[in-house]
Structures are given as structure tokens and as C-alpha cells.
Subunit: 494 residues, 2 copies
């Protein structure tokens, strides 16, 4: 198999459409066979979701996206493609029939993969021509975002096919996991199916609702599972003594009726096997370092979810709001002391602000300065009504000095000084400071014009706004001119 | 129970110490009884982890942290406290005995809670004095970061006790989940235990290692579980047709041997119950909006993990590196015509780049200019290996002129002119142009320094890179100086 340029998809449902989107956005042409007359529309909907998600996910230059053709026959989907991916419903007969048909229509060197969640590859490949090029490639929904794909060969699959599939999936940004021993449900779905069936029992027996069962995961263990599986997590639950201690402490619970699933007997041999594999997994990293790795990842995940105000992120937001309730809330009264630069904006460097150098990327500096200008506008009374009336300040000129780098999650704050204001112009200077170290990261000097948005021309700011800006400017006139004000790019340093 | 000022902890292991840390950092005094002579040291270690994590997690003004006292007797731990939390090993006899002792030593109005993962509250409270104030409060490790706590009363627990416990846990930033029906393992551990036991079988049967089992979760379903449970996830897996369709499609798989756990029979009544509860859970949000919520959360989680370069975050990093390498790899040949400003970057204004004025927000201008600088670097041969060797150009100064507004979906391109280059400095000038109207939207003049990232100082660029930059600069020397070069903010317009 040479480099994959075109993939044939059999089935364009949720999983097939997810494959189509991941492939097309990785520059690989796709031909889909799905008899559903709505297939094209449904695939386009998934593609639109995928485009939207990828635009948010990465700043990296994506491949030029390739075409997705919905074709009327299976043969047209697979005939001229390098790789075939079947994503039909989980009915063995159906899959076997169409995989056999695909094997006769596809090129002899094309790998033919199935997205099955758990049907045995040895059975799926039984009727195929050239069954050695068949392999399971089991993805997870949404296929365009989740990296896992389980790769599992059947009795007649060649080792080369498995290698080719792994290399191909990796080339489109996935994490292939080789399931070395063929088993119903592979690895992931054995675990997922256990959770699903236990959950169904809880609903069936009236113990809990679907909402309660979901909440029991997403506010707790689910947060850990986004980066660390059960075995490594439990190694840490054993504390300093690790996995053997955990098994000694929680071993007896395996005999308790905490699930409808019976556990295997925890023999000495099994304990040794688990502890040995767990040692290999930890690869010499101490419990303490693993704890900090876990905590750093949890913090990153919680902060990510806080930005969406969802699940555990909403819990964190609510708790922070309570903590802030006691904090000073500034509403500008006549009595406010405005003799110093105004500290109106603060935040924390978000994980997605980081560039390939590991530091906050340059455009985010300007975002922080822009947010600081917005905070100044709110402070002097420019609100949504003001904007709705078609009035606003527009930035026309900015000069940024980058003084220090800053990494993810660092808290920062800004201060804003008014250098000059007249009825249409506002000349300001921001400092961005890393709060913990108290060092200036960058400065920005900006000129803004007050505009009538619809008319597209400058107009005087409204009187109360102007009066407040002037009062601050008058107080700030006593401050020294900031370092860098009036500077042009490349001017000699003072 | 008034506002809780002091909590008595019975047991200072991984869970007890986690409670101590969460409580102390929320300003609540803690008294711990644990006969382990190492208890104090172990608790201090967990507290240190917790302090470190909280400092990264939130900027909110935390409570002044309260003292943690390790005391020699159970009585001293509980006598003067408002709330008692027991976190002993999962042995019913042991817990019963110490809970009974605590019930006699504690104040009559103190709530007494157990951290048990799954023992029945009706049995744990049986020997207590005042068993109506007993409740299960089951947390998750690390207790100081994970918000979930399952709250479950026993046969003699009063409703007021449950209310008090829920209010208390919420006040310390947790998400209390009321387990309404007493059951072994409650809700969370029934699911966790099913995963754990299925995983043990896989190791026992030699199907997979602990590493492979963990990877089968953390690169796939685990990412979803950090914000969305199985039921809502599967509602989305059903596509536009939702939960009923999913049950119809995957119902037959419940009879397949995909786990050792037998499923309940999927009767019409059970389907109706699940679908009804799932509808209530979705609360009218469409499948499409839920998909986007899911995707936004996945993006946030993946970006968080990318910042830690761990698990799926490491997969994303590796894929981005490949994209950076390949997408813009135009290896500069000697024959390239570089007499004009270089057109190396183009794109389209994304919908989420638009601000409250309806135009591209100012920080995105700098993003486009930064992307143009990156395109120049790649053009002259600076690649991931170069960055991996710790060398990079850093922007130190930027001057932007905003000339025209631009709306969503507009195509744009940039051109880049080299004004000057020496071994450490690079002085460039970008134009951003709206492609359709061919009008200049903004310009940026930038000074960059070539740095050794680890050493944190400027160093000369490597010879081949410098030679290419110098060849371009020599050609660009014949071009006119761009309008705005050398300008400072507020200078009179020419």
C-alpha cells in the first residue's frame, strides 16, 4: 500500500460520516456508499461540525480539504481506493456480505477495514477474497476528534496489513491500539459495555435515572479517565505503597456485590501479574510524580471545562463566583481613586494560547490588551446599549513590546494608563504583568478613534463618557510617561 | 448544624488526607485521628500537592487556609467539631466500630459521614448513638480536585441530615449527587467496579496488559466521560434519531458476549423508561446542539491535555508537528523569484473572529501576521527539528496600523517584506489584504530576535537560514519602504 490518497467508505452513518470528515480534513479523498437517500445531507452536517471543531482545536495549517463523493454503488466506492473502511450496523451477516463484495471490487493491494465495535475479525473476513488484507479499525464517536482506533486482526490477517493500518491511522492523527488477542468486544468495548450494562441495570431496577448515572461519572472518575486509565489511577489510590497495597486493601471488595459482574479470583499469580504490569506501566516514575502529573492534567481538564461552563467546569465556576463575592467589585463612583493606572482586567493563560515554543502566542497578547481596553470602556460606562446605538471605539494603531515569555495557566493582570483623550481620540498605554512573579510581560500603546459604525466615520464620544475619560486622563497626567511610549519599531533602547 | 468551622476526620490515608487538604484550603479547621505514626508526614505531602494544584487551578481569592491537627485519639478528633468524616479501609466491622465510638464522642448535632465506596449506610449506622445524623459522603481521589461526592442515607438517616451534608459539601466546591436508593456500590462504584472487574478479567485471561487497557479508555471514551456520561453520549451516537434509534441499533449487541456482564432484557418498558429519562436529560436541547457542546468540550479537554503533552494531548501535539512540517514545506530553491514581497499566507475570516462590532477582532489581525511570520520561517527552512533543537525567532516589537474593517468569511492574504536582517535580528513588514476587494486591511512592522530558548538569550541564526533570509533581504532592498514603517503611535499621518 503506497501513501493513501483515496478511501472508500461503506456506510455513511454517524461513524462513517465521522471517518469521511476526518479523512477529508486530512486531505484524503473519500467515496462513500450508503443507500440512505439522506446520506449526503447527513455527511455534510457531520463535516460542518468537524470543520468547526478543527478550527477551534488547532492553529496548525490543515491540509487542503479533499472531496467527499457519495456514490451510488459499493463498487464505485471501493474500486479505485487505497483503503476501504466499513461502518455498517453491528449485524454480522450484513457486514460479512458487504465485506465479501468489497473484497471482490477493491484493488488487490487495498487494505479493507471494519469499524465494528466488537464482532470477531476471523468471522468477518471468512467470505472475503484476499482475507489477509482485512483488519478491524474500531474508532470512537466523534471520529474526527477522538484519537483512539483499536486495530485487531483475524486468523488469516497478515502482519503487514496490521502494520499498514496502524501507519495509516497514525498519519491521520489517531492513536492506534493494537489488540493483540482477538476477543469479542476487543478491549475498549468490553469496558464500555460493562459500564453500559451496569447502567442499564440501575435504570431497570429503578435505582437511578440516566442523568444521575451520567453525573456519577462526569463529575468524578470520568475526569481522570480523560488521560489516565483505571489501573494507573488505582496505583495512585494505593498511596506511597502503590499497586500491591491497593490490591491488598481493595481486594476484599472484589467479593462484595458492588456490581453484577463477578470478579476473577485474586490469586497470588494474578496479583503478581497486575503488579508487574503496573510497574512496567509506571516505567520508574514515582507515585509522587505520577500524582503531580495526574493533578496537572486534572487542572488542565477542569480549566478547559470551566471555559465551556459545563459539567465539572460549571462546578468550578460556581465555586469561584462564591470566592469572588467577597472580592472588591469596582463600580466607578465619583469617589474612586484613579490616580494610578487602572487595574481592570485579569485572567490566566489558557492552554490553547500556547504556541510551538511552549509560550503564549503573540496574538493572545493583543487579545489581553483588547480585553483591557474593553474593561476600560465598561468602567467609564460604555455598555451594550451604547454599542447598539452604533457608537464604539475602534483601534487604529498599536505598538507592542514583548518583554518576557509566559507559559500556560499563569495568572496575569493588566493596568491601563490614559496618555491623552480628546472628543474623538483616545491614546492609552497598557502593562501586562505576570501576577505571581510580578514581572511585566509586555506593553501596548494604542490609539483609538470614536466612530459611528454605520456612517463609517469618526464622531465625538458622548459627553458623560468623555467626562469620565477626561477625569482619569487628568489624574494620569501626573504619572511618568511609560517606557516605550512614542517608540517606533527598531528604535534604539533607552 | 451551623456553618461548619471544624471537621473531625477518622482515618488519614489517601482519602482522609485528601479531605484534610480540601477542607483546610477552604478555611475549615481539621482534626485527624489516624494511628499510623507516619500520618502527619503523609497528610502534609497530600496538602502540598493540593496547594500546588489549587494555585494552578484558580485565580479566585482562596480562603485563608486553616490548620490540620493530627490528634492521638478518635475522641479528640470528633469532640468539638461540627462535621465528622470517616475514611477507613473498606471493612464493615472496622467502620461500624469506629463510627459507633465517634457517635458517642461527637456533639449531638454533628453530622457523621462515611467515605465508604459502597458499603450500605443502614448497616454502618446500626450501632451508632443518634444514627439519624449518619450519611454516606463518598468522594473520589484526589478529593481536593474532583468535585463529585455521592450522598446516600441509610434506613434511619433523617432527611435533614442529607440536606445538611449536601449543603456542606457544596460549600467546599463539590458536586453532591444524592443517591436516592440505597444499594451496594451506590451509583459510581457500580460502574467503576464493573470496569475494574472486566479489566481484571482481561489481565487474568492474558488478553491485554494494564497499559493497553488504560490506553483503550484514555485515548477514546475517557475523553468524553470527563464531561458527558454514557447515556447522553449514546443519545448522540444515535445520530439525528436519538436514543430510541440507538437502542434499536445497539440493542441486539446487548446479547453479544462483549463483556462478562449480562445485560437486562431490553423490554419495551425499559426502552420507554430510558428514552423518557434521556429526553428529560437533554431538556429540549437538539442533537445538533448537543453534538456541538460535546465537540467544544472535547476541544477544550484536548487542548488542556496538549498543554501537558500527555495522553491524547501528546497525540495532538505529534499530529500538529506533522501538519506544520508538511503543509507549508516549500523548501526554498535558489531559483525562486524573491524580488517582490512574499505571499506565503492566506485564509478566510473565521466566524469566531468577529467582535461585538461585527468585524474581525483586533487580536486576530496579529494572529494572521504571526502566522505570516511562521510561514516565512518555514519558507527559509525553520522546521520542527530546528525548534526541537531549542532555536526560534521571538517577536519583541510590533506596530500595527488598522486601516479597514473586515467581516466574517472574507478571504484574505498577506505579503511579507524583509526590511533588514543581521545574525540575530530580523525586521519585517507585513501587509494584510482583503483578496476579493484587493484593499489593504492592516499593516504590521515587527522586530524579531533569534533566541536559544533554554538559555533564554539571543544567539545567531544558523548559517543556511541566515543565508536565505539575506538573499531575500538583498532582493527586497530595491523595494520602496512601506507606508507606516518607522512610525510611532500617534505620529502625524503623511
Amino acid at each position: 500500500m503506497a501513501q493513501v490518497k483515496a478511501v472508500g467508505l461503506i456506510g455513511g452513518g454517524v461513524i462513517g460520516a465521522g471517518w469521511a470528515a476526518r479523512l477529508a480534513l486530512n486531505g484524503i479523498e473519500v467515496r462513500v456508499f450508503d443507500p440512505d437517500p439522506e446520506a449526503k445531507r447527513k455527511i455534510d452536517t457531520v463535516l460542518e461540525n468537524a470543520r468547526r471543531a478543527m478550527a477551534k482545536l488547532t492553529l496548525a495549517p490543515l491540509h487542503e480539504s479533499a472531496a467527499i463523493h457519495v456514490v451510488p454503488t459499493l463498487e464505485e466506492a471501493v474500486a479505485e481506493t487505497d483503503f476501504v473502511q466499513e461502518s455498517l450496523p453491528e449485524r454480522e451477516e450484513l457486514k460479512r456480505d458487504l465485506l465479501a463484495a468489497a473484497s471482490r471490487a477493491a484493488r488487490r493491494d487495498a487494505v479493507i477495514a471494519s469499524s465494528t465495535s466488537g464482532l470477531l475479525p476471523s468471522r468477518l473476513q471468512a467470505d472475503m477474497a484476499g482475507p489477509e488484507r482485512f483488519v478491524v479499525g474500531h474508532p470512537f464517536n466523534p471520529v474526527y476528534l477522538l484519537p483512539l482506533v483499536e486495530v485487531c486482526g483475524g486468523a488469516t490477517t497478515s502482519p503487514g496489513t496490521i502494520e499498514q493500518a496502524i501507519a495509516f491511522y497514525r498519519s491521520i492523527g489517531m492513536h492506534p491500539l493494537h489488540v493483540r488477542q482477538e476477543i469479542d468486544g476487543f478491549i475498549a468495548d468490553r469496558l464500555l459495555e460493562a459500564v453500559w450494562r451496569e447502567g442499564l441495570w440501575l435504570v431497570n431496577d429503578g435505582v437511578a435515572t440516566t442523568t444521575e448515572i451520567d453525573d456519577a461519572i462526569r463529575y468524578g472518575a470520568g475526569l481522570r479517565w480523560s488521560f489516565m486509565g483505571t489501573f494507573l489511577t488505582y496505583r495512585l489510590a494505593g498511596g506511597e505503597a502503590g499497586m500491591r497495597h491497593f490490591l491488598a486493601q481493595f481486594g476484599p471488595a472484589l467479593r462484595l456485590p458492588w456490581t453484577k459482574l463477578e470478579a476473577p479470583e485474586l490469586t497470588d499469580a494474578l496479583i503478581e501479574r497486575i503488579a508487574g504490569q503496573s510497574d512496567a506501566q509506571a516505567a520508574g516514575t514515582s507515585i509522587r510524580d505520577l500524582e503531580r502529573l495526574r493533578d496537572d492534567c486534572l487542572v488542565a481538564v477542569l480549566q478547559g471545562l470551566r471555559s465551556r461552563n459545563y459539567g465539572a467546569g460549571a462546578t468550578l465556576n460556581a465555586h469561584e463566583e462564591k470566592l469572588y463575592e467577597t472580592a472588591h467589585r469596582r463600580v466607578m463612583g465619583n469617589g474612586d481613586d484613579v490616580s494610578q493606572p487602572l487595574a481592570l482586567h485579569r485572567g490566566r493563560v489558557a492552554p490553547d494560547w500556547i504556541d510551538y515554543n511552549g509560550h503564549m502566542t503573540e496574538s493572545r497578547y493583543l487579545q489581553v490588551f483588547g480585553d483591557s481596553s474593553d474593561a476600560l470602556f465598561r468602567y467609564v460606562g460604555i455598555d451594550a446599549d451604547y454599542h447598539a446605538a452604533g457608537k464604539s471605539y475602534y483601534t487604529v494603531e498599536t505598538h507592542i513590546m514583548n518583554l518576557r515569555e509566559v507559559g500556560a495557566a499563569e495568572p496575569f493582570h493588566t493596568t491601563t494608563q490614559i496618555l491623552a483623550v480628546d472628543d474623538k481620540r483616545l491614546h492609552i498605554f497598557h502593562h501586562l504583568t505576570a501576577t505571581r512573579e510580578d514581572v511585566v510581560l509586555a506593553t501596548a500603546e494604542q490609539m483609538l478613534l470614536h466612530v459611528d459604525i454605520k456612517a463609517g466615520r469618526t464622531v465625538p464620544a458622548e459627553a458623560p463618557i468623555l467626562a469620565r475619560l477626561q477625569r482619569i486622563a487628568a489624574a494620569h497626567a501626573a504619572l511618568p510617561t511609560p517606557d516605550g511610549a512614542g517608540r517606533f519599531v527598531g528604535a534604539p533602547r533607552r
